[in-house]
């Protein structure tokens, strides 16, 4: 996280630690690849990523916007700036004061050969002590404040993204891989917090240190200061020169790392296939090539970025010699004290650091801004349309009408055109059709997960687009094939159906949906905690829980998606019974896969390629010998026909039609 252990950077620290900053700075980019699954290890300070190759698109505006996020803390930040100015000024004064003490000693002991005035030296040193303590307090307090400001800012940023997710239309999530979005909330926000944490304190610190050091040099001796300043352009030029090269190499490193990560992921995701299809050799060779690429790029990046500090150190020494030569001449000519030289030496040491510091901040900021832009992209994504203020009747009968509905997931690819249908209160509407015919789309529209392109959907005559989404959805219950349970107790998961449900109500709902029995066989009954992947429940049991959840919500309108497979047979009977009971007296839309459900439905909607090709009940549709009849034969009779060709398909239509029972007697 932002407080990665080995963050080191300060304007006036010696070169080795600062090298660490440069190296890590470049490495601490979020990983935009697949979401790391393991808690540990993936968020160390050396976390590489592929996305870092993305250049900040609009650096200036994004930077301003990021700074805008700190607005609520502007007073604290102003305080920090004041403290930083004072602190750097104090820290810059330190060497000068120590130098004065040295002067006193030197003048007495060396030049004048008189006893040292310890009282005077002591007085000067006490001032130095006070100055250093002041510096310590100021720097500690401002670091403390910055930490709080940054943490609070990223807290708000995460919160904003979380709130935004609630307001985004579902279509946004269709286009966005889940891992990618997660990465923005965690990795990118982290990266922003690291960037802010470091840059807030360091940029100010470096700038003020540079200014105050230069100022102090002029105070001590303006002639020497001018001489010393000659090295500034050299230092800056070298930093920029090396920095540019290392940045290219780092970008390459991240790209290679991302690609390698993808390869490893793929090899493990398809591990059994790689094995059984005998592809190990090829996969290995592929990996080795990428791995070598990564090695070369990362070596280059580390080497180039590593030499910045030694080079700066050399420039510093060059500076020292120049100062010594000129200073020596000045001392000889009596224009300068020996203490001033000593102070100057210390200043010259201090002053290449802020320059390199600023260079590495620029790097860091670039990465932080890239992350900020990715977060801003989420925050700026178009939201679903604002809720209107209409209202549904107090008591809902449950008449659902589609009136000339047009819809497509993207406007240029219409999926549903001019669809009209009426679902009477309490009726069951079975939606059938081949895979991909658009059955789920109908459900999405009723819940208003997506907006229509034309026509309207009404409940009891009220256009669902005219009422707040919450109100609409509070009347609709839903059981999807894809059961969604969260990490919590069984009770919590059922209670999810209705806020504020009592334990008794939860258990009643569980009983109504045939879930009570199996729940009581769980180790802790209703208080059994469902783990992350819900591996402690079977697929059928999960479905029962989601049915219980729907029961609890007491919906007027129901949406059911029958499971096609993967439910063990005994539980399936229960699921089926529970769904039937849930359906009773409610207007229900069922994406149906079971013969019984379809046959009992009041209306069967046969969908093909997004449009409803037939409507009617079972009998009518079979008699029509259209799409339904074809589908029916292939779906529910195919196996039977090949197995027992003597039984005509019409056998299904006999009133009791339980051919399935008949075969038991055969």
């Amino acid at each position: 996280m932002s407080l990665a252990s080995n963050r080191t950077s300060s304007s006036d620290e010696p070169q080795p630690a600062a090298t660490a900053t440069a190296a890590q700075t470049a490495n601490e980019r979020p990983q935009y690849g697949p979401p790391p699954a393991q808690g540990h290890g993936h968020r160390g300070p050396m976390r590489p990523g592929t996305g870092s190759t993305e250049k900040a698109i609009s650096f200036g505006p994004s930077l301003r916007r990021l700074i805008g996020h700190l607005r609520p803390h502007r007073f604290a930040i102003i305080g920090v700036i004041v403290m930083t100015i004072l602190g750097t000024a104090l820290s810059a004064m330190g060497p000068a004061i120590l130098g004065r003490a040295t002067d006193l000693i030197f003048d007495a002991a060396v030049r004048d050969r008189v006893p040292i005035d310890f009282v005077a030296v002591g007085r000067v040193l006490l001032i130095a002590l006070a100055v250093y303590l002041g510096y310590f307090l100021l720097s500690a307090i401002s670091a403390y404040v910055i930490n709080s400001v940054v943490q609070l800012s990223v807290y708000r940023m995460r919160q904003q993204v979380s709130e935004k997710i609630i307001r985004l239309p579902l279509s946004y999530f269709d286009a966005q891989p889940r891992g990618e979005l997660l990465s923005r909330v965690t990795n990118d926000v982290d990266n922003i917090s690291q960037t802010l944490q470091q840059t807030l304190s360091q940029i100010l610190n470096n700038i003020f240190t540079l200014i105050s050091v230069v100022a102090m040099m002029f105070v001590v001796s303006w002639q020497l200061a001018i001489v010393a300043l000659v090295t500034i352009p050299i230092a800056m030029g070298l930093t920029v020169f090396i920095g540019k090269r290392s940045q290219v190499l780092f970008a390459k490193t991240w790209k290679s790392t991302g690609e390698l990560n993808a390869q490893v992921e793929e090899a493990y995701s398809g591990h059994e296939l790689v094995t059984v299809f005998g592809r190990r050799r090829e996969v290995r060779a592929h990996f080795a090539a990428k791995n070598q690429e990564l090695y070369e790029a990362s070596f280059g990046a580390q080497f180039i970025s590593g030499i910045i500090m030694p080079v700066m150190f050399f420039v510093g020494n060059l500076n020292y010699v120049v100062i010594a030569v000129f200073g020596g001449l000045m001392v000889t000519s009596g224009t300068l004290g020996i203490g001033a030289i000593q102070a100057f030496v210390q200043y010259s040491r201090q002053f290449t650091h802020p320059i390199t510091g600023l260079a590495s901040m620029a790097n860091l900021l670039q990465s932080g801004i890239a992350s900020a832009e990715r977060v801003f992209q989420v925050l700026d994504a178009p939201e679903q349309s604002a809720d209107r203020t209409g209202a549904l009747p107090e008591r809902i009968e449950g008449r659902v009408t589609f009136e000339n509905v047009d819809f497509g997931y993207s406007p240029d690819a219409p999926l549903i055109e001019n669809l009209s249908l009426v679902a009477d209160p309490g009726s069951t509407i079975a939606i059938v059709g081949p895979t991909g015919a658009g059955k789920t789309t109908l459900v999405n529209l009723i819940l208003r997960f997506y907006e229509l392109q034309g026509g309207r959907i009404a409940i009891d005559g009220v256009d669902i687009a005219s009422v707040p989404r919450r109100d609409l959805r509070s009347h609709i219950g839903m059981v999807l094939q894809d059961t969604w349970l969260f990490g919590g107790t069984v009770r919590d998961n059922i209670a999810y159906g209705r806020a504020g449900a009592t334990p008794d109500e939860v258990e009643a709902a569980a009983r109504a949906s045939y879930a009570d029995h199996f729940i009581r066989t769980l180790p802790d009954g209703y208080d059994t905690v469902i783990n992350d992947e819900a591996t402690n429940l079977s697929a059928g049991e999960k479905q029962l829980l989601t049915i219980a959840r729907a029961f609890l919500s007491e919906p007027d309108i129901l949406i059911l998606d029958e499971a096609t497979s993967s439910v063990d047979t005994r539980t399936e009977v229960l699921v089926q019974k529970a769904m039937n009971r849930l359906r009773a007296d409610r207007t229900s839309f069922v994406i149906a896969h079971r013969l019984s459900t379809i046959r009992d439905a009041d209306v069967i909607l046969v969908m093909e390629n997004g449009s409803i090709v037939e409507q009617g009940d079972h009998e009518q549709l079979l008699a029509a010998h259209g799409a339904y009849a074809r589908l029916y034969r292939s779906q529910f009779a195919a196996a039977a026909v090949t197995e027992e060709p003597l039984v005509p398909a019409e056998a299904f239509e006999t009133p009791e039609g339980e051919r399935w029972n008949a075969r038991m007697e055969s």
Binding site: A109, F277, L447, F449, A640
Partner: protein, 579 residues
Amino acid sequence: MMRLLAQYLRPYLPQLTAVVLLQLTQAIASLFLPTLNAAIIDDGIATGNTGTIWRLGGVMLLVSFAQISAQIAAIWFGARAAMGFGRDLREALFEHGLEFSAQEVGRFGAPTLITRNTNDVQQVQMLVLMTATMIVSAPLTAIGGILMALREDVGLSWIILAAVILLGGVIGMLIAQMGPLFGTLQLRIDTINRVLREQITGLRVIRAFTREASEAERFDIANIELTDTATRAGRRMAMMFPSVFIVLNLSSVAVVWFGAFRIADGNLEVGQLTAYLAYLAQILMSVMMSTMMLMIAPRAAVSAARIREVLTTGSTVAPPRNPVVPATRTGVLEMREVGFTYPGAASPVLDGISFTAHPGTTTAIIGSTGSGKTTLVNLIPRLYDVTSGSVALDGVDVRELDPDVLWGRIGLVPQRPYLFSGTVASNLRMGDPEASDADLWRALEIAQARDFVERMPHGLDAPIAQGGSNVSGGQRQRLAIARALVRRPSIYIFDDSFSALDVSTDAALRAALAREVSDATVVTVAQRVSTIRDADQIVVLDAGRVAGVGTHDELLESCPTYDEIVDSQFRPEDEEVNA
């Protein structure tokens, strides 16, 4: 960690030796600099001797140049060694992981294996790099600095000692407090990740049940906890540098004060005092560098342990030392009293399973969730090895066969029909790299995939995203079936491979398959009775045991478990509900 480092750094011993020597040179050179500085002041500036200043300045630049040359060379060798170490370790991990059986992959889980292969290696690699390029010189500089300082003046050495102890103590205390905080932080981040992940996957449910408010609250709790921990850890971090500088500055003041007395006594020169201050800074910075090591090392150690865990896990499926070549190649598959128990599990997943699958016939395996169907078929290509009994192909135990020979004869369509990133063609050619386009189209046709592949923008060269996420579930299954068909194996394994197909496609596909693979041995796992009714032999599994073997009709007569399965899927339950 040490063992891992020792093993994988051995090839880089020359580079590392060079690093140590160069860093030693560098440290010595850098220790000379303050002495030269002092000499310039004492002998040059103080005496007003410009010639001496020039001479000493020249020497100083030479020393300085030597120092940075050594340092740059050390970084070069260090980066070579560290990055090479990382590369080798990644390769070793990857190759080791490839040899794993499904059991090891399943035990670790693919995500953590991926993390270990890249991120964990990076942590250790970074430790090596930092050590080689910076940290290794820290103790050298510190010791050298102390020696040089003692050479300048022994009388002030107690200040150095006190400062080192004070600094070590303060930093040690901060790190000790940060350690557990970082651990907690990790957990908090995991939590926020989990909550958000749940919220995104359950978006429809959340909206349908209008629970946005309670979800926002759940996220906020996780967010607050994360912020809280991060803030507390951050405060410790914030104290680090101010602490280092106050110790450094206080001891500088002490050096000047007590140095003044030594100068008054004639035991010290002023230039020496300046040099002393420089050494002091050097020593304390070295101490700080060493403590930095203390901060990275625990993290890297955890990573190293995670890496070693993978490397020391042997594959439960080892290739035979002397592979047996079967006398015939007909494709007769036999299960002989097969049993399988997961390591450490109390009860077996499979127990005493026997049946024979002949070429030209289809064997279907059916049973409720958790009855061991997938495990059973995975024993054939040795994704797992039996724990009792044996699986034999053409009369030879699969464990005796050359794995390449064994796999060459199997066409597997796994439960999760994974597709690799690339193109339709590159996925199909996994089955047979030599296959012609015509072969591919034929396989697609049988798999009922020709139509949609033809409709894709580039046909066979249409891009496939990782995992096949850009095609629908049904299309994915059909492509996976086509991939197995391209291989033309003698044994087909379909593990619930028709579940995402609507039943008419399913029927057409099975009819085409029946024609195509008429002389192969087909083993198919199914959930739906309708998919397997026409199988030559149906094996009914119940809790890892065979509940019955026979044709559909035979089983209806003889096997109550089968009857129950058929019942649940076909009998209209309205009677039951009404009853």
